[in-house]
């Protein structure tokens, strides 16, 4: 798994490449925590290059969304692959997490 963080003017985007599973979830969680500790409140997670998400990955994303929500911020997911989308769907997370088709839509959602 590879994580890249890009900071725009009014939001931060994190790009996750590869598998977000039990093995990589701790690294992903660390990156999220770093971002939040830097003061990021508007976060876009780009899953375009994410092949696989396990429940551990879902857990990290859910926890981050909750933390941001409590701080008045927001997390938006974007560009989910089909398999990943299915996992989100089965988990019922599509209803509680903001998901966008493209990062541009995500940007507008997160800064709205």
């Amino acid at each position: 798994m590879d994580i890249q963080s890009r900071s725009g003017e009014d939001y931060t985007a994190i790009e996750i490449r590869g598998r977000l599973d039990a093995t990589s979830a701790p690294d992903a969680e660390e990156a999220m925590t770093d971002a939040i500790q830097r003061g990021v409140t508007r976060l876009v997670i780009n899953l375009a290059a994410t092949d696989y998400v396990s429940s551990a990955g879902l857990r990290v994303l859910l926890a981050t969304a909750k933390r941001l929500s409590r701080q008045g911020g927001q997390l938006v997911l974007c560009e989910l692959q089909d398999g990943v989308r299915e996992v989100f769907e089965i988990s019922g997370l599509l209803t509680v997490l903001s998901v966008a088709q493209t990062e541009a839509t995500a940007h507008s959602l997160v800064t709205a």
Binding site: A22, L62, T95, V96
Partner: protein
């Protein structure tokens, strides 16, 4: 017994004192009366006799003078016969000289004095003059007593009195014979009027009712107050005329006594009056008469009676005076007693504040009052104690009933609990002891395939125990509903209850989850009695894994989950020590062996019947002994899976070699091998990408779970994966030797909750459940085995 005396002690005492004094006085008076009477009678007799004697003397004197006179005249005539004129003159002179004489006669004997010039001369007084003349018929006179008796007997004598009709007076005649040469030549007589004597008698001071009686020697009344009787009746004729024989006898005896010539007195019944009287009599010696003084008894005893009356009056006055101190004594005794009785009555109706009457003496009443005061204080204290202890008992009883209500309201009581689930036959009973023990049982269907059962026993009794029981039972159930793992649930409950458990109460708890598909029973035991398992062949087993520490005392307690496979028909019996330790009156416990014996015999029956038999047996054993602890038991019979298709007790392809298999170590870095295996097998079997990806997701989720949580040690364990293709299904089995864990029991995630309420964990098993057609669990040969079934053709992509 309603007399005034029966109601008042004082009156009774006064009456008794007076009665006693009255008796003594009566005795004294009686004795005094008798002695006085004797003395009075003696005195009266002496007085009567003296009176009679003096009267007799006077009569004698009067008669003696007449005798002397006549004898003197007789002496004059004795020497030689006197002629008529001399005799007349003699008579004349004698009568003149003696006025007491009424008349005088000189009678010559016819035999010797035939030559004389007179026969009989008689002089008498008449109108103040004395006339002397011849008797008219001398020869008749010779036959009369006054001549004949002295003539015959040749001695002077008094002749019986007679009534002289000429003189109209009672007369008595004294006749003296004149002897010459031994022959009676004449008789000289003198008539004496008895008026003088009668005057004498009537002048006697005889008092009221007293009489003077003079009898002739024949008994004729010479003098008597009743003049009718004088010279007409004798005392004997009167006696005979009496109708009453006693009176007659009395009179006759009196007559005989009076004429016996001896002085004396006699008590007799007076004729015609019935009154008793005393006759004091004496003989008049010269004439042979009898004189008597009659004194009625009443008169004799009159002074005595008066004395007696005075004495009685004095005694009465004395008694009246005695009444004052008697009433005083009685009052002094009965008044404090009466006040004490009033106080006692008020105390008897419950008023213990009554002040007892003050006592200033040190007598029996004071002692009684003291004892009574003591009793009042004791009684009051006793009543107070009793009231307090009764109130305490009521409070305790109220608490106990509250505890029992808490206990009984908190356990499920609706049986059969799952009427639509033929695979479960469950029943439970809780017989609370008098002092509620705090037993609990619980059961619930966690989902349609998992049955939760629990039993527990809180240390201690009463309300605290029942409250802890309620908390423990509720906490355990809610925890189990969340974590679906008996050991973790117990650990959680222990951690919660251990916090601030200053009273160090604890619970022994047993809880387990029965997989209704496989019959696998996963359980954990916190110091509770190991439950029994009754198999279909009537053998009895026991879940006797070493129990873990009781709940509520140790903060770092560890709980192990154990598993046991139940075959269809097996009966699981959970019970508390109230069953095995139920004691009979001689202290003998019901015991494990009796319980085993009973379930061996009765275990094939329905759960309800088994528990009823058990309840009866325990009660029969305890018999009269009081139940000291709750008797609680829960029986559940696993009837086998309802749907044969879901029966995973056997591997789905046990007879088949796996089409593909993989063995992994319990390391996360083994996961890439899983991906490789899926990729390799997937391409070999031409599985769709979706299916491969889904398979990967499912197995990785489970393996991460197993590797992360199933092993309590750091040693290497092997996880085996096997895969089959059966028709249009793909079957995957994963088995591990980790701690028993049934993923299928886990709660389904609620995907409808908003972000804030979504739990972060639990998504892995949720994903497994959601993406499989079947998701089954069994425990086999100390291994957890999960079976995943997916459709080969069906593309579940959404």
């Amino acid at each position: 017994m309603n007399s005034p005396f029966s109601r008042s002690l004082g009156r009774r005492m006064a009456a008794l004192i007076l009665l006693g004094a009255g008796c003594v006085l009566t005795l004294v008076l009686g004795y005094s009366y008798l002695t006085q009477r004797a003395r009075v009678l003696t005195t009266a007799a002496r007085e009567g006799d003296a009176l009679a004697q003096s009267v007799v003397f006077q009569i004698e004197a009067s008669l003696g003078r007449a005798e002397a006179l006549v004898q003197q005249v007789a002496l004059l005539l004795e020497p030689e016969r006197q002629g008529r004129s001399e005799s007349i003159e003699l008579i004349q002179r004698t009568l003149e000289a003696h006025p007491a004489m009424f008349g005088m006669a000189v009678a010559l004997s016819d035999a010797t004095e035939s030559q004389a010039d007179f026969r009989m001369l008689y002089g008498f007084r008449h109108d103040g003059t004395i006339s002397v003349g011849d008797r008219k018929s001398p020869f008749e006179d010779y036959q009369h007593d006054w001549f004949y008796l002295p003539y015959l007997l040749q001695q002077p004598m008094w002749i019986e009195p007679y009534f002289d009709s000429d003189a109209q007076a009672l007369m008595v005649t004294y006749s003296v014979p004149v002897l010459r040469a031994e022959e009676v030549v004449a008789v000289v007589t003198c008539d004496l009027s008895l008026d003088e004597i009668r005057d004498l008698l009537s002048a006697l001071p005889l008092g009221d009712g007293g009489q003077a009686v003079l009898l002739s020697q024949r008994g004729t009344f010479i003098a008597h107050p009743n003049s009718e009787w004088v010279m007409r009746e004798t005392i004997f004729s009167i006696a005979e005329s009496q109708s009453d024989p006693l009176t007659a006898q009395s009179m006759k005896q009196l007559g005989d006594g009076m004429l016996s010539g001896v002085a004396g007195h006699q008590r007799y019944r007076q004729p015609f009056s019935d009154e008793m009287a005393y006759m004091y009599y004496r003989c008049v010696p010269s004439t042979g008469w009898a004189f008597g003084v009659v004194r009625p008894e009443a008169q004799v005893l009159a002074p005595l009676m008066r004395l007696n009356q005075i004495s009685a009056l004095v005694a009465l006055l004395g008694l009246l005076l005695l009444l004052v101190p008697a009433m005083g004594i009685a009052w002094s005794v009965s008044r404090p007693l009466g006040r004490l009785a009033d106080a006692a009555q008020r105390i008897a109706v419950g008023n213990f504040d009554v002040a007892l009457p003050a006592v200033h003496t040190r007598d029996e009443v004071a002692r009684l009052t003291g004892a009574f005061e003591q009793m009042r204080c004791d009684l009051r204290r006793y009543i107070d104690d009793l009231t307090a202890s009764t109130a305490a008992k009521e409070r305790v009883a109220g608490e106990l009933s509250a505890a029992r209500e808490i206990q009984m309201s908190i356990v499920p009581k609706l049986f059969p609990p799952f009427p639509c689930r033929p695979e479960i036959d469950l029943h439970a009973m809780l017989l609370p002891a008098l002092e509620v023990g705090g037993d609990l049982y619980d059961f619930a269907l966690l989902d349609e395939d998992h049955l939760y059962v629990a039993i527990g026993d809180v240390s201690g009794k009463g309300v605290p125990a029942s409250l802890l029981m309620a908390v423990g039972k509720t906490l355990l159930k809610s925890t189990v509903q969340n974590v679906r793992d008996p050991a973790r649930a117990l650990a959680h409950v222990n951690a919660e209850l251990e916090k601030g458990n200053d009273s160090c109460m604890f619970i022994t708890m047993f809880c387990g989850i029965l997989n209704l598909n496989s019959g696998d029973f996963l359980y954990a035991n916190a110091g509770h009695n190991p439950p029994l398992v009754v198999h279909g062949d009537r053998t009895v087993g026991q879940l006797n894994d070493p129990p873990d520490v009781i709940v509520g005392v140790s903060s770092d307690a560890n709980y192990q989950v154990h598993s046991r496979r139940l075959d269809p028909g097996d009966l699981l019996l959970l019970f508390t020590d109230g069953v095995t330790e139920a004691m009979n009156s001689s202290g003998e416990q019901f015991g494990d062996s009796r319980l085993r014996e009973l379930v061996q015999q009765e275990g094939h029956r329905g759960a309800q019947q088994v528990l009823e038999c058990l309840g009866r047996a325990v009660r029969a054993h305890a018999a009269q002994a009081a139940q000291s602890d709750d008797i609680t038991a829960l029986a559940v019979r696993y009837q086998g899976a309802a749907d044969g298709g879901n029966d995973t007790r056997q591997p789905p392809c046990a007879d088949q070699e796996a089409d593909a298999s993989l063995t992994l170590r319990n390391q996360l870095d083994e996961l890439p091998r899983l991906r490789d295996w899926i990729g390799e097998t997937g391409s070999r079997w031409e599985l769709s990408e979706t299916l491969r990806s889904r398979l990967n997701l499912l197995l990785e989720e489970w393996l991460v779970n197993v590797i992360s949580y199933a092993y309590g040690d750091a040693e290497e364990h092997l996880i085996e994966l096997r895969m089959w293709r059966v028709g249009d299904e793909l079957r995957v089995e994963v088995s591990d030797d980790g701690r028993p864990f049934d993923p299928t029991a886990q709660a389904r995630a609620d995907t409808s909750l908003p972000l804030e309420h979504r739990p972060i964990g639990g998504l892995g098993i949720h994903l497994m459940r959601q993406t499989t057609d079947q998701f089954l669990y069994r425990r086999q040969q100390e291994r957890n085995v999960i079976t995943l079934v997916l459709a080969l053709a069906q593309d579940r992509g959404r």
